[in-house]
Amino acid sequence: MRKKKVQISLLLAFVSFTAALAGCGNSPDDILNKKEVKVGVKNDIPNFGLMNIDTREFEGFEIDVAKEVCKKVFGDDVKVEFEAVTAKTRGPLLETGELDMDAATFTITDERKETYNFSQPYYTDHVKLMVKKSSGIDDFMGLDGKTIGVSQSATTEESLKEAAKEAGITLNFSEFSSYPEIKAALDSGRVDCFSVDGSILSGYLNDSLKLLPDEFSPQEYGIAMAKRNTKLAKEVDNVISDMKENGELDKLMEKWGLNQ
């Protein structure tokens, strides 16, 4: 018994030690002096963040926004490196410091604001629902008792749970770690509906699928940064604010066909 206690306490110590590595980093404001910046973006959402598998370059609205922001905050000669993230990985990688910021369809919520810094919104989307045309489901009420595939760490589940409560229906949820998996589950019938922000769904839409007319909770996307980088957050926020005022943001939205 004693041996087991010793082993368990050593286990705890070891894991805490490993986690301590997570806390290590430079002083938070040094980040502004960086000349090489890493930004987390999506790689599977047409028009927002998509990887062109031929050129291995990332292309999309968020990539352009991120580039502009980095240039204005860090200087024109900054080297911006993009890394593919999923809803699941984008947050933690900010905390560990591997990424300096995220421009990855990251919705601003009060709860998230406790853990991350966000710039003001640069785009607003809504949670949407995608089903097979053959499913016979026509609206939100038709999902009563059905299973909805959502991404882990996304705001989708919360928003839908609230809406379901109000509408008086019950929903089941299956969480997955990436969108391709949810799409595969929808295709195979494991879930009846694929739900996430409309912009993301548009990348998976095809002739046999349709979007339900309902939309939920406006999703405001902001640039996310680690909580400790307060100076950086201020600077980025200013840049977004400027881009809104001088019409740069609108131009980029037009370029990618995202006019709201």
């Binding site: 286990l11 070891f14 590595l21 890493k38 598998i53 990985t89 560990t96 770690s177 990436s178 095809n206």
Partner: protein, 229 residues
């Protein structure tokens, strides 16, 4: 038949193939480096456990028990989300290499310990009688015999690591399984039979893993035959 050909074509486009094989490169790279590092650390741990003083022995036992009684997936997730990799190791795959190395070292340690136990005790005595000191005995006499004996188990472990790299898809590391899944869900027009696409891709994934692992296990078997012959 036409449907099948169409599905085949839509899966095996040049871009898709390059993307998937890129992933395979990452898979093999991660597996190889993890195994090599684990062999080194595993051996050290085994030596600590069998010949170390109380402290080293205790540390080694705790480490081994810790990693042998928890799932690999747990460590992949925990390390990816909580540990910052220093430059120049900040590409995502290095986090995978770290978690695999930590986990596999424990397994390797047990394999090596089995190998050490199989070396007859007489070897030590003979070496000492010839004037070898302890470290020299270990390095020149015991370890070579030990490694010869455990090659099959080690190669078996390599195969296991290659298979386990499929976990890395969970943390957005672009290895073979991840990339193949991406191809499976990529937007296609609905004239292409999705059922066929899915089965074709699964078949492809299985064949690739099978060929690699089976070849490795055949090498193990032919070596075993030669040894016992």
């Amino acid at each position: 038949m036409n449907e099948f050909m169409a599905a085949l074509e839509s899966v095996f486009t040049k871009s898709n193939l390059i993307y998937m094989f890129r992933g395979l490169g990452v898979t093999l790279y991660v597996a190889l480096i993890s195994v090599l590092l684990s062999m080194v650390f595993g051996t050290i741990l085994a030596l600590f456990r069998s010949y170390g003083n109380k402290f080293l022995k205790g540390f080694s036992i705790v480490y081994i028990e810790l990693f042998r009684n928890t799932p690999n997936l747990l460590w992949v997730l925990a390390i990816r989300f909580m540990v910052r990799m220093p430059k120049p190791f900040d590409a995502p795959m290095y986090s995978g290499i770290l978690s695999f190395t930590l986990f596999t070292s424990a397994v390797m340690a047990e394999i090596v310990r089995g190998g050490l136990n199989s070396v007859p005790k007489g070897q030590f005595e003979a070496a000492f009688s010839q004037g070898f000191n302890f470290p020299k005995t270990i390095v020149h006499i015991i370890l070579p015999q030990c490694f010869k004996a455990i090659v099959p188990s080690m190669l078996s472990q390599v195969i296991t690591v290659i298979k386990d790299t499929s976990f890395l898809a969970q943390v957005a590391i672009e290895e073979f399984f991840n990339n193949s899944k991406w191809v499976m869900s990529a937007q296609i027009d609905s004239t292409i039979n999705q059922t066929m696409r899915v089965f074709i891709i699964f078949g492809f994934i299985s064949v690739v893993y099978f060929v690699i692992n089976f070849s490795l296990s055949c090498i193990v078997r032919s070596r075993k035959k030669r040894q016992t012959a």
